[in-house]
Assembly symmetry: D2
Homo-oligomer: 332 residues x 4
């Protein structure tokens, strides 16, 4: 990957046009200011580069999501939320959409706790084929109504590009799950539209793998991507389901301009450890949380063990906002 920094915008734009016209096969990008990126040396063959005026960088593959390409934080705006920058975003909701009535109740809890995005699965990726796989279209519909009723954004998982048209009718934000982080067809499909995408880190995905996955979406045309750290798979999974890689938060924020959220629910796998992990994520600088809730965890259709009750969520949010305030103070 090569990035060329031109002395001014006009030069950059001209260079971009020149490369683009000349090559059919090498992807080339323009950042809207002074930078032009291209995937391969080959794109420069025959291009007239005013050498003295140029700074050339050899950069890692995930260029467009990097700070090198864009120094300032990406801030994603939806009807009810601002994700990234100094904003703090709470995404919460049930693991799966269970019923019209239930998701409505959960939506109220999210609203009460200060959340702006209602999450919930209608297409569930389950390890075992005989496990409950979600209510599909009926779930989406109920989810949408609850989001509307409480003026929240709707966020739900897509597992298959073939489901895009159906889910797109309902959702505001697409979620890509850990198991699909390198489902490149799905990433491209979500890159060809503009709704925000919450991209969860794969269980054994490196930082670079995650950034490259995000780059797939951005390279296909959709800059509205936020990253979600949800725990990685390590030797240590006796007491928690995964190991929350809290260090990934500042690392991702250093190298990328995309917003970084933490999902403490899947990292913990047990509700009593969700709050400490959530606080840790925010204290490390996460720009938001994604948390599973249930009013009666024992009766939840999926992953009840890790769900917070609405009351627990509210208490947690008070702590989290206080921690967030401390960090902001020190920034200024």
């Amino acid at each position: 990957m090569i990035m060329i920094e031109m002395p001014n915008k006009a030069h950059a734009q001209a260079l971009y046009e020149q490369i683009k016209n000349q090559t059919q096969t090498v992807p080339v990008f323009y950042n809207g200011a002074t930078k032009v990126g291209l995937a391969d040396e080959a794109g420069l063959v025959g291009v007239d580069l005013p050498v003295e005026a140029v700074v050339r960088h050899d950069v890692p593959g995930a260029l467009q999501v990097s700070r090198i390409w864009q120094a300032e934080d990406t801030i994603i705006k939806t009807e009810h939320s601002q994700i990234g920058g100094s904003h703090f975003t709470l995404v919460a909701g049930p693991d799966s959409i269970e019923s019209q009535q239930h998701v409505m109740k959960m939506a109220q809890a999210v609203k009460d706790a200060g959340g702006t995005i209602l999450r919930g699965g209608s297409f569930k990726p389950r390890t075992n084929p005989y496990s409950f796989q979600g209510y599909g279209a009926a779930g989406l519909k109920a989810h949408r109504q609850a989001a509307d009723a409480y003026e929240l954004d709707m966020m739900t998982e897509i597992m298959d590009a073939r489901d895009f048209d159906l889910i797109d009718q309902y959702t505001d934000i697409f979620q890509v799950g850990a198991r699909n982080m390198q489902n490149f067809s799905l990433l491209k499909c979500l890159g060809e539209q503009k709704k925000p995408v919450g991209l969860k880190r794969g269980m054994s995905a490196s930082i670079d793998d995650l950034l490259n996955a995000a780059e797939y979406i951005v390279a296909a045309g959709n800059p509205n991507v936020f990253l979600i750290e949800r725990g990685i798979r390590t030797f240590d999974n006796q007491y928690t389901r995964n190991t929350l890689d809290v260090g990934a938060v500042p690392v991702l924020q250093k190298y990328s301009h995309l917003p970084v959220l933490v999902d403490p629910s899947h990292a913990a796998g047990v509700s009593e450890f969700v709050a400490p992990l959530a606080r840790a994520g925010v204290a490390a600088g996460a720009q938001g949380l994604m948390i599973e809730i249930h009013d009666n965890p024992k009766a939840a259709l999926v992953d009840g063990a890790q769900a917070l009750t609405p009351a627990e969520l509210e208490k947690l949010m008070q702590q989290v906002q206080a921690i967030s305030a401390i960090l902001e103070e020190n920034e200024s």
Copy 2:
């Protein structure tokens, strides 16, 4: 998951019909002999079980791929190959289909080394979006011609259920890559047809995860699945790309009746370590190997560093066959 073993076939079949007629929602299976499996206790409500004549097991989720369900090895038969049981199968070919001429040459090398399946990618899962992604339909066509010319089965990767119709026109065997091992939509799609599926273990997939992924395909109706151990992600990746989990071979063979192959190429990531890993896999009992070759590794479009030359493959196959013979001897 519950498995019920009936005293004879007639009883088992009757029980299966009874449960099936009674429940709309609980998946229920019959193994063709004396065993009936069902996903949930709920399927037994109202069913008349002759208690004294019944053995009931609570089994892990991946029932149909387990030895509990089927004691004898699955043997998959294709036009040119038998995979599983005491058969040894060599799958080889270039990482990606590069040209008509090149894949033809590689096909000859596979044939010469005793291989029966020609592998090659026309849809390539690449970490970085700007990397070469395969030649698509043109690649498939060239791949098919080469397989036919040398009387080999064709095996190629599918990354997206939307590509099924296209790839299905050409291939004999579908490959599911490590990154898609839990792309459940894709697994279901491949379960709804009968061509064999080579399922690669995900980078951080446990044994149970892999068996559950295979169960997705079998539960959807396709029993022709073989498993491929290709190295897992550990802290130790400085000198090899992944850590070949050679112990997974006997473990999988103990708990499942599906054939188990080893892919030493992706485990090693460096050609000089491919042969030792291949030998290790066979010595551990693998029923086949899947190996990447290239006549000019430095010029390969993808992953040249890990490709064996045709001559290296041939030498390796001699060792491997000798090791295989030693194991067989001791079995008898």
Copy 3:
């Protein structure tokens, strides 16, 4: 491991004496209240147990460090510090003792930041045999003087039981490093005296491994142990040296009464990520931090890249104290 809970203290004590008198080989323990623990069933042979009055538990091996054995938090008191319970402890200092003058300066920085324990290595465990291994006795002496000058406790690493007499002349608190966490001879040696021991988690030690290592010290007679989470080894070490397992903090606190500190310096390996990890650890409930500092990190003899400057430490401590206050508030 068996634990027997007696109806009252007198009965428990009597049972303890009875078992102790009867067995020469089975370790048996009394918690000073109503509980008696013994390592093996064999210890109960011939013992007269008033069955109706007894609650018997089969517990994991690490009994004495568990909450089952002791419900309330262990609080370790030294001349200048209280470690555990609701106390917050800052341990800081240079990675290695470099000179009299330098450690004096670092001691002042620790004091200024609110620390009560001055850490520093005079015997350094180095991966490579030719790396600087510490100044030994001379380092200990300088370390002691600096601790005294600023009224701090001294804490230093011991790597070999043969060094015990020497180090014991100087230090207030012994540190056991990650690489020696299962050096059982060393653990026993430190269990046979009463000075506090800071026990770092091994790089691939599970929670149970760590608790068992602590149990070695306690079983040998020294209850003054505190645990230090310092990052584990995972596949993800490109941008940070280790993965801070922040979830281990609440897990350890749930299952054990021992104090839990976090060492963000070795987890991060890079100074810019130390503060986020430190804040995360405290937000997860850690009862203290252990941090490496240096006034001129680039000139540090060991691990300069991960050292905070005194100014950075002071800023961090302000954030950390504020976070700590938030947690305390919510407890009450």
Copy 4:
């Protein structure tokens, strides 16, 4: 680390003497031929280097164990064994020495299977402090007698430098366990004598960590070190205790001249998987095996689950020798 290659032996020796005389602090080494190594640039200050005649390499820290320093294989000779090069060595015996009579029986089994080294623990590193820790001196004595009776070398674990004098009275070969691989004091202690040391790889030790640990022993003066791969800790430990890193065998052999053995017993943790892992290790090129045996595994004091019976060992050795022969054939 710097290595200087001189045009001939006389020059090399002269350079070595010159550097040695000049520096008090920088470790400097001579390989007996044309190579001089030194730990630090500082050792060259004031040294008169005939520039034109010199090849200078910047090499990793573990110089003396590397192929760069010594191209040909190290072969360790003991009374009954040759370890390394094209020799194949079988080390076998009980996990712990249980009784005079028992170790005698095991020695016979080792002899019968073609083994030359009798292993067995009298000082056992146990995760839990209350587990059986070995019979100490009495065990050593019985072990020695059995080794003598069957003309085998004796190999036993040392956990603490303070035990050196005692163990040294009995054993021919010292074993350093995985948990002590970075017990640097112990490594130095074993480097200051000449008996061979079998160094087991730590559970989360990288290849470089292992080579550096070996370098500690060699740098202290003892070149008789052999390496033992015994499985690493990964996320995958449900069916086997550890993950045998079979790829480490050829990697270590490429970069180091030290012999490499495989311990399939601790990797498997379950006897039925020991033979496949042993065969895999040998097929990957291991120069020997270290295997635990017991005539009545269920009654073993330690780790019976992973012990082979004498009959199983004998059958395995036949397979292993046949595999070994295949590899040798192809070498010639």
